[in-house]
Point group: C2
Chain length 248, copies 2
Amino acid sequence: MTSVDRPRQEEPEKMSETEANVRTERKRGSGAKVVYDLLRDEILDLALPPGSPIDEVQLAERFQMSRTPIREALVRLAGEGLITTLPNRSTMVSNIDFLNMHTFFDALVLMYRVTTRLAAQYHRPEDLEVIAARQQEFAAAVRAQDALAMIATNAALHLAIAEAGRNPYFTVLFSRLLDEGRRILRLYYQSYDDRLPQRFVEEHDEIIAVIAARDVDSADRIAREHAEQIVRQIQKMFVREDRLEVPL
Amino acid sequence: MTSVDRPRQEEPEKMSETEANVRTERKRGSGAKVVYDLLRDEILDLALPPGSPIDEVQLAERFQMSRTPIREALVRLAGEGLITTLPNRSTMVSNIDFLNMHTFFDALVLMYRVTTRLAAQYHRPEDLEVIAARQQEFAAAVRAQDALAMIATNAALHLAIAEAGRNPYFTVLFSRLLDEGRRILRLYYQSYDDRLPQRFVEEHDEIIAVIAARDVDSADRIAREHAEQIVRQIQKMFVREDRLEVPL
DNA sequence: GCAAATATTCTTGTCGACAATCTGAATACA
DNA sequence: TGTATTCAGATTGTCGACAAGAATATTTGC
């Protein structure tokens, strides 16, 4: 099938999967995924703050593709509640629900407990390697006092623990909660230059130890304390900056 | 910001949202939703059993619309894990994961407990009316020995309880779990004509009583026993029909 | 007769265009 | 002047068509 009258400059393709690269040429079926991943990151990093308008044609131009794959990405994001679509009108980044924050905390603490408990129960040797690596990255972020890296690596560590627990239902919910937490924390770390304390590194070490020891009850207890510690930390930020300028 | 009190001519529109109706005329923006709702029901009812091929053009003909809204519905269903898409190849109804069924049971029991506990804590008077109505419907299904109606009304009852708990994170997960349970149970009720015992009606009454009494600890305990009772019931079916013909 | 190469077919992925609906401004009217 | 109406602009929802990729059928070469 040598139907190559077209000068499709495949060539080296040295470039990594950057946006610029994707623009010029991209594999069939990858369009929506690229847009989804990038948009998701931008939303969670608050590069697109809550309330930001999402324009399909604008995105289509930016990614050099038609609106169809763009729309598919948006439908998926809407399914996760990250964007909100007003029928026939407009689409925008979903707001953070400050009024029902306590429901978020409840769910977060419970998932911290459950996933850690299951990890202690069902983990395999290779899981511990992944978890240890994530903890290294978190500790490095703490040493560097890089608040945003702390948020990301902390989420990655706890997600690794959750996956060692091997319950996809819990993992999916936990992942959503950690994402939402990423937005909330970033909102504060933008204005404040606060940092999660060294204490969290030590608590993580404790958690990893009881998981490795398969001590289920201790895992539950320590995870709970750790989670409640984090929640208190976040709540402290709230009262501290009570009259925060929040986009409704 | 005032809500939308716009006189949007809702008109009579006596006709119910049947498929035939939708075929002839449908409102802009409703296409994907209609397809989504109907396909979802058919999947959960096993009218479309696991492994069934999902053909876009076929659906487009059936619903008398183009493939675009069909695809949107499919993307949403895929997001919930109800269908599986093989890139560039085909789409089919997702399988039921019998190997990791225990993770499903773990999650189900925990959500039964948590949602009931929160309902005892946070319910409002009007919630109890809804819950009582659902319990009536469940009792009616038991009296009629209508197994499929029992499944549906049981799920509706527990979802009503979950909503009285007012934690959207838990409610969403629980809803997914009840959906998955609907598929699993229906798989068995197709071959067997077993029925959930009268005992469940009484247990529901107990649960409703402790919720109304705001007895959080009892709510947790009774919900747990109730859930484990149900899980045992399902597991009994499994061993009974061990060499079941399961579509992989 | 059988394996490899080729053609066909079938399904999904993408595209550009058009239509419907909403927003907001400009206009008409009391 | 204030309110209702109309019109223009913008954005989404839908459509039909085409292309790419994978599976299957067919042909070719030995």
